[in-house]
């Protein structure tokens, strides 16, 4: 167990270093950063000023290590656009995105788990096919489009929910639904296949031979074993959701990290972009790490290793 944990942590650390490098390299893609920052109407003199001011006149290697050194202690520099510390910007916006992600995951689990179980218990029957088909249809919907549709129907026509903004919990419902949609098919399929595998296992035959009730067989004996892959994929999906929140936050004008990323990209605010990329990567890595640990708790065989 400890050995596994150390190995995982080492890989996670390496991944972060890789992403760090990647995030830095990303911003140098355009060639000359100073030109991009100064904007299209800048003169050659303006560009020189920008170059000096942002330290872009130093050698790239020096800039890189400077950035890495500061990033390691959580200092991502000053935002070009907001004139604030990037770390503060992110910390301020993170709760919104986290709430959105958790609401999305919650809705996704609430829908996907029962559907997956029902599908598995009716494997091959009409209801199973119908559920798969609906999931497939859901998967085909572009999230931003679904967001707009919900705005028109739930927001405008029915007036049930606010159309955009961050004020209250109601503002998270529509974006949460949209975000959930992207995760439901994967979660549902995995629940289904996990439950099918579990229901065909020998220990389920034993449970039936013991005369246990159907509820106990399905919910206690099968679900516990089917849960492990679902936990992993749920963590991965939450990571993807946080990444995908950029589209949804933009559509619903939710002022979270996604919206911040979107604004900083359109404003050429590179320190912020870099920091958000890195932060999302770290969160994703931590989530998968957490899922592994949770699985170890669920599976006594892993726990013992």
């Amino acid at each position: 167990m400890l050995h596994l944990l150390i190995r995982r942590l080492a890989v996670a650390f390496l991944v972060c270093i890789t992403v760090l490098t990647f995030a830095f390299a990303l911003t140098r893609l355009s060639g000359d950063l100073a030109i991009s920052i100064a904007g299209p109407s800048a003169t050659a003199a303006d560009i020189e000023v920008v170059r000096k001011a942002y330290g872009l006149d130093r050698p790239v290697v020096e800039q890189f290590f400077d950035w890495v050194g500061r990033a390691a202690v959580g200092d991502f520099g000053q935002s070009y656009f907001y004139k604030e510390r990037v770390s503060k910007l992110i910390v301020d916006r993170l709760p919104v995105t986290m709430t959105l992600g958790l609401v999305g995951l919650g809705i996704a689990l609430l829908v996907a788990l029962p559907l997956g179980v029902v599908s598995a218990l009716n494997e091959g029957r009409v209801i199973d096919r119908v559920i798969s088909l609906v999931a497939l249809l859901g998967q085909a919907m572009p999230s931003f489009w679904l967001g707009l549709i919900l705005m028109v129907t739930l927001g405008l026509k029915l007036g049930w929910l606010p159309i955009s903004g961050t004020g209250s919990w109601e503002h998270f419902v529509m974006p949460g639904i949209v975000l959930a949609f992207s995760a439901i098919p994967a979660l549902m399929r995995l629940t289904r296949s996990g439950m099918i595998d579990a229901m065909n296992a020998d220990y389920i035959r034993t449970a039936r031979a013991k005369g246990l009730s159907r509820t106990s067989i399905v919910l206690k004996h099968a679900a516990r074993n089917a849960a492990m892959p679902v936990v992993s994929i749920a963590a991965v999906q939450l990571g993807f959701m946080l990444g995908g929140s950029i589209v949804i936050e933009t559509v619903f004008a939710l002022h979270g990290v996604g919206f911040l990323a979107w604004e900083s990209i359109s404003k050429n605010d590179f320190p912020t972009v870099q920091a958000v990329v890195l932060m999302l990567a770290i969160i994703y890595t931590l989530l998968t790490l957490g899922a592994d640990l949770l699985n170890a708790l669920l599976d006594p065989r892993l726990r013992a290793q």
């Binding site: 013991k210 005369g211 246990l212 004996h221």
Partner: protein, 317 residues
């Protein structure tokens, strides 16, 4: 001798293929009845049919299926689940996978008891500890808190047996309970089952492909081939005067000290168990039989020797 489990004319099919064809047998109270045959003969399916645990794609048809005088063929799933684990228990061939890896031994044993007898968790655990002791597991208290993967195969099978006995069943169906175990462990488990039988007056339907196990445990034997009971007899007559060529073939495959000399070759049965399609007629063993005759492809008659010994073959006694 009162009959506990009576099966008459049991048929089980999977799609067009017949797995069991008209099997009839009786398990008496307090007796061990061995069902013996090669792999694929339909033994496990027969056992599952007794428990109402056949897979969804199986079709079952039977003239009578009685447990303790009660017809159980027509019981609903819910009524059947009241019998299972309580009055009829079953243990399986694969001790490695038959226990749920996610729960402790104590939790899995306790839940049968609470399902059928109710009571507190602690009462169930006490009962479980008592049974672990009965199946000769040392320090039962510790074992109750362990997970299946922490136990050896032999221990797990003991746990399975203990779990099956939680509610003092009258009938225990054991589907090749020792096949997956080492020879020494095998012997221990068989002795344990025999002891438990005398202690508790248990009836056992023992399924095996091993005639050595039959010789050690059985009171009665039914030899199964391609879904049919081709010969049934008390254990002594069966070993002394096997009548069906398949039974003889099986017996010639095992060395019997004193009967088979050191350098004599053991027998074997050529070929494999055939699949039985919808329009099959005659003896299923004829292609592998040295004594096959032309009339083997017409319907076979059952010959009765003594009141307890009958076999299914064209060759008259």
């Amino acid at each position: 001798m009162t009959a506990l489990l009576e099966v008459a004319d049991l048929h089980i099919g999977f799609g067009g293929l017949a797995a069991v064809r008209g099997a009839s047998f009786t398990v008496n109270k307090g007796e061990t009845h061995c069902l013996v045959g090669e792999s694929g003969c339909g033994k496990s399916v027969t056992a599952l049919a007794m428990m109402g645990l056949l897979p969804a794609n199986a079709e079952r048809r039977t003239a009578a299926l009685r447990f303790d005088g009660q017809d159980i063929a027509g019981l609903s799933e819910r009524e059947m689940s009241r019998l299972r684990g309580d009055r009829i228990a079953m243990i399986f061939q694969e001790p490695m996978t038959s226990l749920n890896p996610a729960y402790t031994v104590g939790s899995q044993m306790g839940e049968v008891y609470r399902r059928h007898r109710g009571g507190t968790r602690q009462a169930a655990l006490d009962r479980a500890a008592e049974l672990l002791e009965r199946v000769r597991i040392t320090s039962p208290g510790m074992r109750l808190g362990q997970f299946p993967h922490q136990l050896s195969g032999g221990l797990r099978q003991r746990v399975m047996i203990a779990m099956a006995l939680m509610c003092e069943p009258e009938l225990l169906i054991a589907d090749e309970p020792t096949t997956a175990l080492d020879v020494t462990v095998q012997a221990q488990i068989l002795r344990l089952l025999a002891d438990l039988q005398t202690e508790l007056g248990l009836a056992i339907l023992m399924i095996t492909h091993d005639l050595g196990i039959v010789a050690r445990t059985a009171h009665r034997v039914s030899v199964m081939y391609a879904g049919e009971i081709v010969e049934t007899a008390p254990v002594f007559p069966l070993f002394a005067e096997p009548r069906h060529p398949y039974t003889r073939g099986l017996l010639s495959c095992v060395p019997v000290p004193g009967k088979v000399g050191r350098d004599e070759p053991l027998g074997s049965i050529r070929g494999t168990v055939p699949r039985i399609g919808p329009n099959f007629a005659g003896c299923a063993f004829r292609d592998r039989c040295d004594l096959a005759r032309p009339d083997c492809s017409s319907p076979v008659v059952r010959h009765t020797l003594a009141s307890e010994h009958s076999y299914l073959c064209q060759i008259a006694p």
